[in-house]
Assembly symmetry: C2
Amino acid sequence: MADLTTRAAAKRQQIMDAALAVFLENGYVGASMDQVAALAAVSKQTVYKQFKDKEHLFQSIIDDIGDRVDDPFVELTKDVAETDDVERMIHALAGRFVTTIMDPRVQQIRRLVIGEAARFPDLGRAYWERGFARALVTIADCFARLDERGLLKVEDPQVAANHFAGLLLWIPSNRVMFHGRTDAVSAEELAAFAADGARAFLAAYGTRP
Amino acid sequence: MADLTTRAAAKRQQIMDAALAVFLENGYVGASMDQVAALAAVSKQTVYKQFKDKEHLFQSIIDDIGDRVDDPFVELTKDVAETDDVERMIHALAGRFVTTIMDPRVQQIRRLVIGEAARFPDLGRAYWERGFARALVTIADCFARLDERGLLKVEDPQVAANHFAGLLLWIPSNRVMFHGRTDAVSAEELAAFAADGARAFLAAYGTRP
C-alpha cells in the first residue's frame, strides 16, 4: 500500500512538474491539458482525474510551491526564537530564507503568477497568501518572541518581518525577474545578500549597541 | 515651431500610452501594431514612422518609464546629500521613492516586463538598468556623501541603497504584483510603508543612538 501511495504521489508530482514547464513556456492561457499530458507521458484522462481542469492544476502547483515556501521556516524559527545567540541565528535564518525564496522553481512560478495576475487575480492572491505571507507570519512570531526575551527590539513584528524580507530579497529577486533567468544570481552572491541583509536587520532591530 | 514640436511629442506620447494598454491587455507577443494604431486613433504608418517596429515601440515605452523612475531623484538627492536634518530628509526621500516606484504606470510596465523577461531577456535587463538601477546609483551617491559628512554610517553605499529600496518597496510592490491591481495599496498605506522603512533605515545606518 505504501508503495502504491508513493507511486501515486510521484505521478502527481510528475504531472505538476510537466505542467509548470508547459505554463512557463506558453503562459497560463496558452497552456493546454494535452501538452501537459504529452510532456508528463501520461494519458489526458490521468491528468483530468488527478486535477479536474487547468485551473485546479495551476492551483495545485501554487499550493505545492506555497508549502515549499513556508515549511523550511517552521522548525528553524522555533530554534531562532529560543536561541541565546541571536546574531548567529538571524544570519542562519537569513541564509535559509534567501535560498528558499530564490529557489529556481519558486522564482519561475513567481514570474508566471505575476505575469498572469492582472487576468487571474485570485490565483495571484492565493499564491501570495498561501506561500510568502504565511512564511512572514511564521517569522513575525519568531521576532515577537525574541522581543519578549529582550534579544530584539521589535515594536511591530509584522513590519519587522517585512523589513527582514525586503533587506534580503529585493535585489536578487528583481535581478532574476528582470533578467529572465533563474541563474542571474550566483550562490556566492546570494550568501552576500543574506549576510549584508542580516547585518542591517540586526543594526535596525538588535538590542546591542 | 515650438508648437509643432509639442504636438509631435504629444502624438508620440499618445501612441505610447495606447501601446502600453495594448501590451498589458494582450502581452508582448499578442499585441499588434494594428491594435496600437486603432487605439491611438492614428494611421499605422504614423506608428511605424515614429517607432519602426514593435520591439522599438516597446523599448521606447521602457525608456520613457526608466526616465520617470530616475528623474524625480536627481534634484532631491542633491538636497538630501547637503542637508543638516538627515532624519527629515531621509523620510522625504522615502516618500518620494515609494510614490514614484508605486506609480500605476510603473507597476503595470513592471508586471509586463517580468512576465515577458524569460522570452525577452534583453528588454528586461534594459528596463532594470535604464530605470531602477540608475535610481539606486543616484541614491547610493547621496548616501556616500552623507557618510562623508558624518550623518550616516555607510560602509558600502550601493548595499545601503539596495536596503533602502527593499525596506520601502518589498511588501507594497509584491502586493500589487500578486493582486494584479495597481490600487491594491492605498495612499495611506504607502505613506506608512515609507515612514516605517525610513525609520528602520535610520536605525540601521544612522549615526545617532
